[in-house]
């Protein structure tokens, strides 16, 4: 008796109840739908099927074929059996119960049963299932298996092989989700043991997830093990503060000290994953190095502790003085990308209402005033959602190393590629994403615009509808209507594919092939790196990107990444230059020349992040007043006159807005027990001291105001933010259904729209790529070292951040610091040979500004003529080489005396062999 189910739905009976589920559903999932929990160990909905643990066996009967007698039901694993109409499942059949009991018995005979000292105790599926389904007593009279205990798989993850139940969740995760099969089972059968390949330490940035997946205590966290019991922990739902992805997390603390961070499921953002930076880098919150109270510069030139009233009073008086003496334009405010929305909003109000300066920016090193270069085209900076990538037929990554920049979003891109999306990676240097790319565009550093022009020219040559697959195939959707690209042809102004190929260094055939791939793909999506937004030619890039989107069918395909935990939030909260205001980079440049007299820095370590360390130092020295809100006494803070002790994001209540524009709530995981105050409170009180009270006493008041006040959040005013967050949009860009109505952005070659410094590079040392701007917006860009070829001496420097650098927020987590690479300079083989450098030697990398000594990595990632140095590793940072005023950074690389190299220090020990510990 089967109820008629809609097509593609299947009705079956589970434990006497009829259940209707989509065809293809696994029995275990169908049972969950019906509210019946079938116990599992190896099954995980995010991983491939293993059928290994046999825990989920149920008695499953199939309806007999017509005219034949019914066959007796069979014991089948419900995690590998898909529903069929009329199937009868008995999850509690006596045979199934006996089989489950025997599985638990088999699992426990060699398990050490050390629950009282096991980290997993209390949150362990093996423990829970043993209680629920296992035998009452042990019949095992033999010797238990002995195996590795306390064996590190990396500095972060520790294995207890004796506890392992060999469910293959960890190995499947590593092979399937990040695609980094660094783990496998070695030996066979009873002797199976988990090891890393060649017994080398795991290098993956996602390895912490295997601790969550492990259904027993075999895999534990080096930073958490033996430090707490689950029932001792306090939990707070929060959002990760380490990158713009905005992964949902739970902050677990014990006695007000952060114990660990766990991912929290949000299918729209991080699914259930978390990268290792987000998971492990939380010790800074409870670090003894934290600033505990405000500091004020004494007459002796040393910072000394001060009370809040003194610090606030001093700051207010001196800011007021400068404002009156030099005018409000002599004040620059930088910061906010690592602060909560509430802090950003209060800071923006403080800057505009109390300081009355237009010089406000959250983007360190930015050269242009437009924080969102797509706003000119009626678009948001990010116009899709993370989830949209899963239905994209093609994905373009332009000038970004998304693996390092937004690691958990990379997992979703990777999933899309695994399901058939075509990946196109355009970057001056090979990235992790290249491994999966269909096309790799290795362009000259800074030549993004030429690449885009080439793609547009190729599309004009051979319009998209010619590439569309015949509609019969697949049978879904109509072919794209022919688009009139004559306007685009005009906008291109006669640039040909060959021109673009010459300028960019990418072969014309490749550009044409990429254009054809894009034109033939459904819902292509384009992601541009965060560093492109702050470049001098950002407006030109935006126009070209919008045209590319338009030519492919939807201008909303264009998305810019952002930097910092809350870069998008800071932008939406108004931490952007006002009309005539200076960008962050310009503020520092002018401060160095003494034109800006006061710097207000909110959580921005400009000495490390401004793309010219020497200039930043001058700025701090020449400014009459430097006020900071900080967590630590950073090198920048040592130059400050007043440093307010702020609270960190895990200590805050409030909201964050991630790169896609999703506003998410975060709750305080630990209280600040020192004299730290939230940033919104600091500026609110400072404002009051200056006679312009903002009137905030609690974070919720700021939240309420900012939701009501800011256009992007207007629809949220007065609402509760749901747990999965809400996408905030400034521009309600409706794509016109009429293809001819596409507005083609003019692509006029010439100086950058800001008019300021057209051809300057923007090598900002935060995240992003291709910051050497080789005058891409000029019609015939100068071709520096690249074209001068071997013997010209210099190499173009490319730099961006590794996910894991020895940053203030990482350094207190010593285990994670072990994963930080030793500072290095990466060279192409032929350049290395020419320069007489071998892999592993030390080299001095220098410009007229300064030099660093790093170990040489010789590989094929950089093309000839280009070298790479990460900008968040090593002391001094690579920004000592950069010159804000000059175009593309050309560096000299030469062998360094060995002694210099040793003195340079080795902060990272990544790659160390996982020692056997017992």
């Amino acid at each position: 008796m089967i109820a008629t189910a809609p097509p593609n739905m299947v009705t079956l009976t589970i434990d006497g109840a009829e259940v209707t589920v989509p065809a293809g559903t696994l029995v275990v999932e169908a049972a969950r739908e019906a509210g019946i929990d079938v116990p599992v160990f190896c099954y995980h909905p995010k991983l491939s099927l293993a059928g290994a643990c046999r825990m989920c066996v149920c008695e499953i009967g199939m309806p007999p074929p017509p005219g034949q007698p019914a066959r007796p039901p069979a014991l089948l694993t419900s995690c590998t059996t898909r529903v069929t109409p009329g199937m009868v499942v008995n999850t509690m059949a006596s045979g199934a119960l006996k089989a489950r009991e025997s599985v638990i018995e088999f699992l426990l005979i060699n398990h050490p049963l050390d629950c009282p000292v096991c980290d997993a105790g209390g949150e362990c599926p093996l423990q829970d299932n043993s209680h629920a389904w296992g035998p009452k007593e042990s019949r095992f009279a033999e010797e238990k298996r002995l195996a590795r205990k306390g064996a590190p798989l990396s500095p972060l993850v520790v294995l207890d092989q004796e506890r392992c139940i060999v469910c293959y969740r960890c190995t499947r995760f590593m092979a399937e989700i990040p695609g980094e099969a660094e783990l496998d089972f070695f030996n066979r059968g009873y002797s199976s043991e988990l090891r890393t390949i060649n017994d080398e330490a795991m290098q993956s940035r996602f390895q912490g997830n295997i601790i969550d997946l492990c259904p027993c205590g075999a895999l534990t966290s080096e930073t958490y093990r033996f430090r707490a019991r689950p029932h001792d922990l306090d939990h707070a739902d929060s959002v990760c503060a380490q990158c713009p992805v905005g992964c949902n997390i739970v902050l677990d603390s014990r006695a007000n000290i952060m114990a660990r961070v766990r991912p929290r499921q949000n299918e729209s953002v991080n699914e259930i994953w978390l990268c290792d930076k987000g998971r492990f880098a939380h010790h800074y919150v409870s670090s003894p190095e934290r600033l505990t109270q405000p500091l004020v510069m004494g007459d002796d030139g040393e910072l000394r502790a001060a009370s809040w009233p003194e610090a606030l009073g001093t700051a207010a008086v001196r800011l007021q003085q400068i404002k009156e003496q030099y005018g409000p334009r002599a004040i620059g405010v930088i910061g906010g990308r690592n602060l909560a929305n509430e802090d950003c909003y209060a800071l923006a109000r403080f800057a505009r209402e109390a300081l009355e300066t237009p010089n406000i920016d959250h983007r360190a090193g930015a050269r242009t005033a437009a924080a969102n270069p797509l706003a000119a085209h009626g678009l948001d900076a990010f116009n899709s959602t993370y989830g949209a990538v899963e239905s994209a037929g093609a994905v373009v990554l332009l000038g970004t190393d998304v693996y390092e920049e937004m690691p958990v979003f990379w997992l979703r891109i990777r999933k899309a590629v695994m399901f058939g999306a075509k990946l196109i990676v355009a970057n001056p240097r090979a990235t992790e994403a290249d491994r999966l790319a269909l096309h790799r565009l290795r362009y000259r550093p800074g030549a993004e615009l030429s690449v885009l022009r080439g793609l547009l020219a190729a599309l004009v040559e051979s319009p998209p509808h010619e590439h569309a697959p015949p509609p019969a195939e697949g049978g879904e959707g109509a072919p794209p209507p022919p688009r009139d690209l004559s306007g685009l042809r005009q906008a291109l102004g006669g640039v040909t594919v060959e021109d673009a190929a010459r300028e960019s260094g990418v072969m014309a055939e490749t550009l044409r092939a990429v254009a054809a791939t894009l034109a033939g793909a459904k819902n292509p999506l384009i992601y541009a790196g965060a560093r492109l937004v702050i470049r001098a030619d950002a407006a030109g890039l935006a126009a070209a990107l919008v045209n590319l989107g338009g030519a492919l069918g939807d201008r909303r395909a264009v998305n810019f990444f952002t930097e910092g935990a809350n870069g998008r939030g800071a932008e939406l909260a108004g931490l952007v230059p006002d009309e005539g205001g200076l960008s962050a980079g310009e503020i520092i440049a002018q401060a160095a020349e003494g034109k800006i007299k006061a710097l207000y820095l909110a959580g921005e370590n400009v000495l490390a992040t401004h793309p010219d360390a020497e200039q930043a130092r001058r700025a701090l020295e020449n400014a009459e007043l430097v006020v900071m809100q900080e967590l630590f006494v950073t090198e920048t803070a040592r130059h400050a006159d007043i440093v307010f002790s702020a609270t960190s994001l895990p200590e805050k209540e409030g909201t964050l807005t991630n790169a896609e524009g999703r506003v998410q709530r975060m709750h305080s995981g630990v209280r600040n027990e020192a004299e730290g105050r939230p940033d919104w409170s600091i500026v609110s009180e400072l404002s009051a001291e200056m006679g312009v009270p903002l009137g905030y006493a609690a974070a919720v008041e700021v939240t309420r105001d900012l939701l009501a006040d800011l256009p992007a959040y207007a629809p949220l005013a007065g609402c509760t933010i749901p747990s999965e967050g809400v996408i905030a949009r400034e521009h309600a860009a409706e794509e016109s259904a009429e293809p001819s109505a596409v507005q083609w952005a003019p692509l006029t070659p010439g100086p950058s729209p800001t008019g300021a410094r057209p051809l300057t590079p923007s090598p900002s040392p935060t995240r992003g790529e291709g910051n050497e701007g080789a005058a891409p917006s000029a019609p015939t860009p100068p071709l520096p070292a690249w074209e001068r070829g071997p013997g010209g001496g210099g190499l173009i420097l490319v730099t961006y951040s590794e996910l894991l650098g020895d940053e203030t927020m990482v350094r207190p987590t010593t285990e994670l610091l072990m994963m930080v690479p030793e500072p290095y300079v990466e060279l192409n083989r032929s350049d290395a040979a020419r320069l007489g450098l071998k892999d592993g030697q030390f080299a001095e990398v220098s410009t007229h500004k300064g030099g660093v000594v790093h170990r040489v990595r010789v590989n094929g990632r950089c093309p000839e003529g280009v070298c790479f140095v990460p900008d968040n590793v090593g002391e001094p940072r690579v920004n000592v080489l950069l010159d804000w005023e000059s175009p593309a950074t050309v560096v000299q690389v030469r062998p360094a005396p060995e002694s210099v190299g040793v003195a340079a220090g080795v902060p990272g020990t990544a790659g160390a062999v996982a020692a056997e510990g017992r």
Partner: protein, 461 residues
């Protein structure tokens, strides 16, 4: 015969086949002992590759599949699946398809493939190419047991000759549009690789562990590199040229009509002339032992028999009239719950005389399966080793009376398709049936009368 708990085997009225055609001429092992039999010219001089020629010139692929189906040839690896049905099913699934030959013969007591490949490698290639023609396959893989280096070299040499003669390559025997390439891959020493899905995992370069079915190998997603794949045993394919050559009726008339054809029996244990004997399917155990294998050593009585090497259930020695074939030994009364069919495997018969201590034998067998368990699924990984530990203890005289019940229960917990692949059942077949048949012997080992206990009183606990 001790009365033991469990279900005793009812003496069956065996279904006797027509018996030996007189005079019986070996078909598969005709070249054994012949000088130069591995050479392609010798094979051709014996009428080799005529069947292939006949198939290519006078038959459609469907005809070939039909004649194989009509012959009622069933797989010789042990599962006994009708070969024609497998081929037809694979051919219905989309190309590209593959042929995989399972030559990973690695069960103690089974060595028919080894002799057959050594004597007549071209007969295998002949059958493979015919299969490729019938199922429209361009690529065949032979997965040979790593330890059988000699067989690997013989096959490599044979394949080279076949390419030189144009029998392999882009157009087989000049047939336009029909090309076949054959590759030989050596295993690395794992019994699990004889399991067809684990074999394919290994062939693909991964850790050899069985896959989940469905999808089955003949389906998209289930076979080699995810493509529909015919997996056949060496001996199965060696029958094919003869079926094509002499017709389905000839084949179906040999031996037990339910699973007809010639069979390479390998017999070992306490017999006087262990070795390989080619006989029609369904020859009786008595004939095998006394007529061909020279009777029992020292004229012992037959105590027990492993009818298809070690993975099958042990049969008692009191009924020697059982026909030894797949059909008989997989159906009632030789289907014994909860362990299922007694099984015939690949026809490797191990005979145990009455001088043998069955506890030691079963301990030894359990050791093999515990060592060879791949470890993917829990009952087999943990259970086989637990059984081995208990058996070793019992065999050494340190067993306790209650161990036998635990042992039987553990075996029951693995048996009956509770594991991912058939190896779980294989591992408990000898233990479960051994306990049932020789409970007295086991009991003697765990009581004071145990000879082992008398030798090692300290071990008694």
């Amino acid at each position: 015969m001790a009365q033991t708990p469990g279900q005793p085997i009812q003496p069956a009225q065996p279904q006797r086949g027509p018996g030996l055609p007189v005079p019986w001429e070996p078909v598969l092992s005709a070249a054994v002992g012949r000088p130069n039999s591995r050479d392609i010219d010798d094979y051709i001089s014996r009428g080799g590759y005529d069947a292939l020629k006949k198939a290519l010139e006078t038959m459609t692929p469907q005809d070939v599949t039909k004649v194989v189906a009509d012959s009622k040839l069933v797989g010789r690896g042990g599962a006994g699946f009708p070969t024609g049905v497998k081929w037809g099913g694979t051919a219905r699934n989309p190309a590209p398809r593959y042929l995989v030959v399972n030559a990973d013969e690695s069960e103690p007591g089974t060595f028919g493939n080894r002799y057959a490949i050594d004597a007549d490698p071209h007969m295998l290639l002949d059958g493979m190419i015919i299969c490729c023609y019938a199922v429209d396959i361009q690529q065949g893989h032979i997965y040979i047991r790593g330890e059988n280096l000699h067989g690997f070299e013989v096959l490599e040499a044979a394949i080279t000759q076949a390419y030189q003669k144009g029998i392999l390559g882009p157009s087989v025997m000049g047939k336009e549009g029909f090309g076949v390439d054959i590759y030989v891959t050596r295993g690395a020493g794992a019994y699990i690789c004889g399991e067809e899905t684990a074999l394919m995992e290994s062939l693909e370069g991964r850790r050899a562990q069985p896959r989940i079915r469905p999808p089955f190998p003949i389906e998209v997603g289930g076979g080699l590199f995810g493509r529909p794949t015919v997996v056949n045993n060496v001996e199965t394919l060696m029958n094919v040229p003869h079926i094509v050559e002499r017709g389905a009726e000839w084949f179906a008339g040999i031996g037990n009509p339910a699973c007809p054809g010639p069979k390479l029996y390998t017999i070992s244990g306490s017999v006087n002339k262990p070795g390989m004997y080619e006989l029609p399917m369904g020859v009786s155990l008595r004939d095998l032992i006394y007529k061909y294998a020279g009777g029992m050593q020292r004229d012992q009585k037959v105590k027990a028999v492993s009818p298809g090497a070690l993975a099958c259930q042990i049969l008692p020695g009191d009924n020697l009239d059982i026909p030894m074939d797949t059909a008989t030994l997989t159906r009632p009364p030789y289907f014994i719950p909860p362990f299922g069919p007694v099984g015939f495997g690949a026809g490797g018969i191990v005979v145990y005389g009455e001088e043998v201590d069955m506890v030691q034998i079963i301990t030894n067998i359990a050791g093999f399966f515990a060592r060879e368990s791949c470890g993917k699924c829990v009952p087999c990984r943990e259970g086989t080793h637990w059984m081995l530990d208990m058996l070793r203890r019992i065999a050494s005289g340190a067993g306790r009376p209650k161990d036998l019940e635990v042992l039987r229960d553990v075996a029951t917990n693995i048996a009956g398709r509770k594991t991912l692949c058939a190896l779980g059942d294989f591992a408990v077949n000898p233990v479960g049936s051994g306990l049932r048949l020789f409970w007295d012997e086991f009991e003697a080992h765990v009581t004071k009368s145990s000879p082992a206990r008398l030798l090692e009183p300290a071990a008694a606990g």
